[in-house]
């Protein structure tokens, strides 16, 4: 009897383990549109922080979800079809690559965006390489 229980117990443990393993393996990417932003910032303020101290700002913001408001200066599509928005400065501003799933169902929102006007995006800050990289991102307004 005892051996039977032991076998069942071991099997259950293996099943649970395998279940957790599989769930981790197939874990989807975070859905940005449903995630809460860790920081709400103005584009110019964020650029200022990275210019002042890149390392400190990277530690503070890298891999965090940011809600950023600023002036849209470039709206573009990359060769692979990704929508690209750049805030404040074409060369050294904030570069936001839009989430392809979100973009697919929100083309109207993207089309309605006008360069020169203000925009608010939410996305994961990836750090600083000549400009602040944010991806994937979604447009809030």
């Amino acid at each position: 009897m005892k051996i039977k229980y032991a076998i069942v117990l071991v099997l259950v443990v293996i099943l649970i383990g395998a279940g957790i393993g599989l769930k981790m393996f197939f874990k989807p990417h975070a859905d940005i549109s449903k995630s809460k932003a860790a920081f709400q910032v103005e584009a110019t303020g964020l650029i200022g922080e990275f210019e002042l101290d890149e390392n400190a700002a990277t530690t503070k913001y890298s891999e965090k979800i940011l809600e950023i408001s600023g002036k849209l200066v470039v709206k573009n599509k990359l060769s692979n079809g990704t929508d690209l928005l750049i805030l404040e400065d074409e060369m050294q501003g904030i570069s936001c690559q839009l989430d392809s799933n979100w973009a697919a169902t929100n083309q109207e929102t993207i089309e309605a965006l006008e360069t020169g006007s203000s925009v608010t995006v939410k996305g994961i800050c990836k750090g600083y390489l000549m400009e602040i990289k944010v991806s994937p991102a979604v447009v809030l307004k």
Partner: protein, 183 residues
Amino acid sequence: MLKKLFILIFITASIGVFGQGKFIAKNAYISFFSSTPMEDILGESNEAVTILNAETGEIAFQALMTTFHFKRALMEEHFNENYMESTKFPKAKFTGKIEAYSKTMLSAPLADIKVTGTLSIHGVDKTITIPAKLGLENGKLAGTTKFKVVPEDYGIAIPSLVRDKIGKEMEVTVKANYLPFGQ
């Protein structure tokens, strides 16, 4: 503002020339690929930055490790946290020079070239020579390369449990469309 200036000077200085013909690609493509029995591992980024000095044939290339995107969230996590240690070493860099460079390479159709320089990944520098292509593609200056990298050469430890399942070498692919810059 000062920081911007410093960065500009740094980038300019790092490729060794001031105010002359330069080309930049701000959304260059870089990927690395490895095949495993379970599934292929492909990490891609569209956010690499590269500058080509038209006077000297020097090339600077940088990519942020965190911008690599994978099919599975877990792969991305392992890539950044276990293998590349992206918080400690956020950027991969290459600075090199085109062998037997001549300015005519920039106005000729895509042709084979060789680039020798220093590749810095995971805090380890190595001198490498890579085959590449440079020249006009659809009327625009483009650069591409495909080369192999051995993770262990750059102090990237892969646990023995999975080591045998991943190819010894990773294939790196780069594609950049250059635009004139800063003139």
